[in-house]
Amino acid sequence: MPSPLSVAPTCHDTAAPPPSEGSELRPLVALVGPPNSGKTTFFNQLTGLRQKVANYPGVTVEKHLGQVTLPDGRTVDLLDLPGVNGFSGRSLDERVTMDALAGRIEGVRRPDAVVLVVDATRLETQLMLAEPVLEMGLPTLLVLNVIDEFDAQRGAVQDDVLAKELGVDVVRTDARGGRGLDRVQDFIARITRHRGWVSALGSQPDADDGRVSLPMIDVLTARRRRIRSILDKAAYRAPGLSGFTEKLDAIVLHRVWGPLIFFAMVVLVFEAIFSWAIPFMDGVEWFIAATGGWIAAVLPAGWFRSLLIDGVWAGVGSVVVFLPQILILFLFLAILEDSGYMARAAVIADRSMHRVGLQGRAFLPLLSGYACAVPAILAARTVEDERDRLATIFVTPFMTCSARLPVYALLIAAFIPDVQVLGPFLGARALTLLGLYALGIVAAVGTAFLLRRTFLRGRRADFVMELPPYRLPSPRSVLYRLWDRSKIFLKRAGGIIFAVTVILWVLAQFPQVDGGPPTVEQSALGQAGQFIEPAIAPLGFDWRVGVGLVSSLAAREVIVGSLGTIYGVEGAGEESFQLQEALQQHMPTDAAIALLVFFVFALQCMSTVAVMRRETAGWKWPIFQFAYMLMLAWGGAFLAYRIF
């Protein structure tokens, strides 16, 4: 797949100043390292909150750029490149890292120096990255990170020999404890003092040198041999395995305890996003309603107030309300990931995921999907293999996200009698809800199965998972991640919801009747509902439900509010009895069940479509996804209407 990244190599000195970069005057230092080397903690410690996240042009790889103030008072830019194991250039992360070091990325100038961070406790494997990084010809500092554990586990290596053999400076750090970072700053200060001179020294590596054509195994085996001989010279003694990690793994990966702990973790995450988040979500909802009310009281009545309050405030508010839930979800995921448990969870999940055509790494995105598909699709980036990643993204919207819950709650309360079915614990309503969740899972499994035999057929990538030592998550790192994720969520989801709600508002306001807004039936929105009525009549839906479906294209839960408007119920929520009664009058029970089934399948969420377009770099997948889910929704609702 051609990528906008592979721009022709340009000479560094004549390249036009990149417009989007921090400051052209500031030196740029690149941070490189394998995944799990503690590189991100290192970056956070050095830059603090002075960092920003963006995407590299045209690709889904995130660009983390921060600023470091040196002891001499100068400021340099620090670029945290994606964690990579090598430069074979097959994964997007690898290509971005390689191109960034070579100065081949538009808008990112060539770095003046490289800081290569490796986890000292896994020195032998992680040093494999040193050679390709050094070949880039930039002044490089080798950082032996997590040195506290290296020492505690009685590892040994002579830094001076390592430095001499590799031709780099070597420092030892414990980024989490903040030790050794001053020496990193000293290096950066020294290297960047005569910046122009240093840059001129770095030779521009060619985009494709002959070695790429050699079989990878030969290149890597030779590299490994060289690393081994350097380490021998440096009197390297590998640290022992962490006793703590060994003991914990004996339980966490135990035949019986392992799956139990896994299951308990899933229950805990569910409990957190569905119980603990509720008070916060109620708070946000109240805040949005209250501020909307205040603004409405201040502004004069008219189209502007209506647009602002009924359109923007209500629409964007309907997305912001999910922020507490997403924050709590990410808090859990960040802790689980940073502690090292998530890698074990992926291993435990792998066998069953493999059976349906996914893999262990897909577990985390799918779990996130129960809160919201948008962050879940972003999380699918951790799935290495491209086909696996696409399959994961494709089935994620079948997970019952929390935006479906208000719709389920309303329809279940209105149409499903509150009677016991299986003993005193399981009523008909709870059973219906469980059934809707199960239906989503069945659809996801079936879809993954089908995809693997059709569009995403081909060799199965294998599953290899590194199990990092268990570590206490650093609160700082976790908080930065939360901050990052919530910004991305609000930007992605907020932007599209804003646009769609404005459009929906306009459709509801026109054509104007006697200088005022029309009734719902006369409005463009109502006409849209009537227009699609023939298509949805076989499902038992009338034009009113049609309006609800059209309006909930923006976000599923919007249907609750728009049904309220259509039936003339003021301030309708899913708990509104008036709305429930109005629904009972206008809709037969079989149609209500059909509507529930429709919502299990349909991709009624423009935020998901937008994020899919981004993550699959084109419209092909989101359009296919939308059509496929709509087809399933229609078919499922049709069957439900006939059966019930």
């Binding site: 291993v347 435990i348 294998d462 590194e466 199990l467």
Partner: protein, 81 residues
């Protein structure tokens, strides 16, 4: 004789050396990137609940699928327990 020894059949905690990977490059790539290369030391640490091996590879712990472990030809290392 040693040629037939596969990682999948190595007893727990016995250190072996990787000789050859009977895998197409596409499948071997994620392994190679993580340091699984001819000459590396491998030591099965445990099996996961699903029966897949967890292996120590030159100081790094990797979880593999067992079909993959059957494709890795290893030889025992003299002197290793």
């Amino acid at each position: 004789m040693n040629d037939d020894l596969r990682l999948a059949h190595v007893p727990m905690r016995e250190t072996v050396e990787l000789v050859r990977m009977d895998l197409p490059e596409e499948l071997a790539r994620p392994l190679m990137e993580r340091g699984v290369l001819p000459g590396c030391r491998m030591c099965p640490l445990r099996t996961s609940p699903s029966g897949d091996p967890v292996v120590l590879v030159d100081g790094t712990v990797l979880a593999l699928r067992r079909d993959l472990a059957r494709c890795l030809c290893v030889k025992s290392v003299a002197g290793a327990a």
